[in-house]
């Protein structure tokens, strides 16, 4: 956007790992439980308790590292990060300092300016903190309430290199991460519930400068859109400061959605000193080749690869491939259907049309619907075999969507079978002709389009069950 300055952005993403139990104890990780009901002596940090590591959290972190092209550590350990805050009952967070489980990865994102490689410095495993509810605003409240249910939920902290140059790239990086984590089924990435959170560092420097400018940390952005907007705002603010020879202060700023601007929270407390040291209550991790290989074998096909394959293998337009590979469940539904019904574009149309319409209307998760690829394929075959009209198919589709019933059964039960009986249709066609003498006159005078109106009348009469092609043909033959 500007020739004089180059923008440098780095992102820090925290993703809650979707385990059943917490990282160091057997409490449930369920979101939305009554306050403090998912807590125990371990996650409350009571004296004398000891943490025991949840293996699944480690597996999830390793598979995430592999999907993001990281090196997986053969030796790793946990460390204590010490600080006081009421949401941290032990007064230290168990995290990883110098030996993270994964490091040196990268992803490639595509924006209008082309393909851009963004390095991933490290991914480490740590525990989440509790949730504070302030009485009134944080600076005016007389006290805060603490719910420790979230304490000890496993988190993957994914730190990018300062390789991001534009707010758009930041958004694409996050989209890529989110989609990947969802494909891996390691996090539900629900930003509203806080299972995906992102902080950003941003600074400007003159083009060609090697040294980074003073950076500002941005917090409190609750959607990808907000992150992009906050970065764009900050980019503009910092450029204006630099152009006016003003000094940028290193600080933390918060995004105020209602005012659409960033606001200074406070100067960074003179370089945080967390006094990290190895967590003596946990033993180190050794990840051998077998363990790594075992997880590598479980890596699913990742979004970008799947998208390309859908274009090559099924001849899908790029747009369709984008929409359908947006989620793994949707892509699986598509492939299940295509395995039994060969016209991929027809399947894609139904998925992007009726299926996503119902999903959005009902605000449902794809995995909660009753329809399967097999059922959709069966229904599509029934259209091809003239058993149902494509109009009726929409009704049948809805029924399958909600009930998971076999389309044949639905057609039988509801009497939706297409009328293709020559005699039956002919009598209907004649009836409509008798009832609409003026329309017939129009058609005879060359207004061919009016045939559509007559076909519509027959469809209405039969509640959509007449075979429209046959009816159309009959009208054309009879009115000549």
């Amino acid at each position: 956007m500007d020739d004089k300055y180059e923008t440098i952005i780095g992102l820090e993403v925290h993703a809650q790992l979707d385990t059943e139990s917490k990282i160091f104890c057997s409490c449930s990780t369920e979101f939305g439980s009554e306050p403090n009901t998912n807590t125990c002596p371990v996650c409350l940090g009571l004296p004398g308790t000891l943490p025991v590591l949840n293996k699944k959290a480690v597996d999830y972190l390793i598979i995430t590292g592999l999907a993001l092209n990281c090196e997986i550590a053969s030796y790793s350990k946990f460390d204590r990060k010490n600080y006081f805050y009421p949401d941290l009952p032990k007064a230290y967070q168990i995290s990883q300092f110098d030996l993270p489980l994964a490091k040196n990865g990268y992803i490639k994102v595509e924006t209008e300016e082309g393909i851009h490689r963004i390095g991933i410095t490290r991914i480490h495993l740590e525990e989440d903190a509790g949730k504070l509810i302030h009485e009134g605003s944080i600076d005016q409240s007389s006290g805060s309430l603490v719910d420790y249910n979230r304490t000890g939920v496993p988190l993957a902290e994914i730190v990018s290199e300062p390789d991001i140059r534009t707010p758009e790239q930041a958004r694409e990086y996050l989209n890529y991460l989110k989609k990947t984590l969802e494909y891996l089924k390691v996090s539900d990435c629900n930003m509203e519930e806080g299972s995906l959170r992102c902080d950003a560092n941003i600074s400007l420097r003159l083009h060609g400068n090697k040294k980074f400018g003073t950076k500002v940390e941005l917090k409190n952005m609750n959607s990808f859109k907000a992150i992009e907007k906050a970065l764009a705002y900050e980019q503009k603010r910092q450029r204006k400061m630099l152009e006016n020879d003003k000094k940028i202060v290193q600080e933390t700023r918060t995004w105020d959605e209602s005012k659409s601007k960033t606001i200074s929270m406070r100067g960074k407390e003179e370089a945080n000193d967390y006094r990290y040291f190895p967590e003596p209550d946990l033993v180190p991790l050794e990840i051998d080749e077998r363990w790594k290989k075992d997880i590598e074998d479980r890596l699913p096909e990742l979004p970008a690869v799947k998208r390309k394959r859908f274009i090559d293998e099924y001849n899908l337009p790029e747009y369709d491939a984008d929409v359908i590979t947006d989620s793994r469940d949707l892509a699986d539904f598509f492939e299940d259907s295509v395995s039994e019904y060969k016209d991929a574009k027809v399947v894609s149309n139904w998925i992007m049309g009726e299926f996503l319409r119902l999903i959005n209307e009902e605000k449902m998760a794809i995995e909660d619907t009753k329809i399967t690829g097999q059922l959709l394929a069966k229904m599509l075959k029934m259209i091809d075999q003239d058993v149902i009209s494509s109009k009726i198919a929409k009704t049948v589709f809805e029924e399958i969507f909600y009930t998971g019933k076999d389309p044949e059964e639905i057609v039988k039960e509801k009497g939706l079978k297409q009328i293709s009986d020559q005699d039956e249709l002919e009598s209907l066609v004649e009836k409509i002709i008798d009832e609409n003498p003026s329309v017939i006159e129009d058609i005879k005078n060359g207004k061919d389009k009016a045939v559509g109106y007559l076909v519509g009348q027959v469809m209405k009469e039969t509640k959509g069950k007449a075979n429209p092609q046959m009816v159309n043909k009959m009208f054309k033959e009879k009115i000549k």
Partner: protein, 96 residues
Amino acid sequence: MINEEEVRYIADLASLKLSKKEVEMFSKQLSDIVDYVEKLDELDTKDIVPTAYTIPVKNVFREDKVKGSLSLEKVLKNAPEKQADQFRVPKIIEED
């Protein structure tokens, strides 16, 4: 050597209030400890991997299974103040 300023800094990070006398005492004690440990510098540790743990145990895990949590009554039993089934803490003030 751990000087008095460093002692005050460490005490501050740990939210400890120390008297002037204590600062002097800890400065001396901590310095003695550090000096003692510094003896290790005399050893050649060039080829030795840094040790984080002293016992030869690794990879201790639990399976990802949910077991019962504490009853709310027990959870909040030690809370100095509680409200709406939550711990109530005083206003959070950023220290200058």
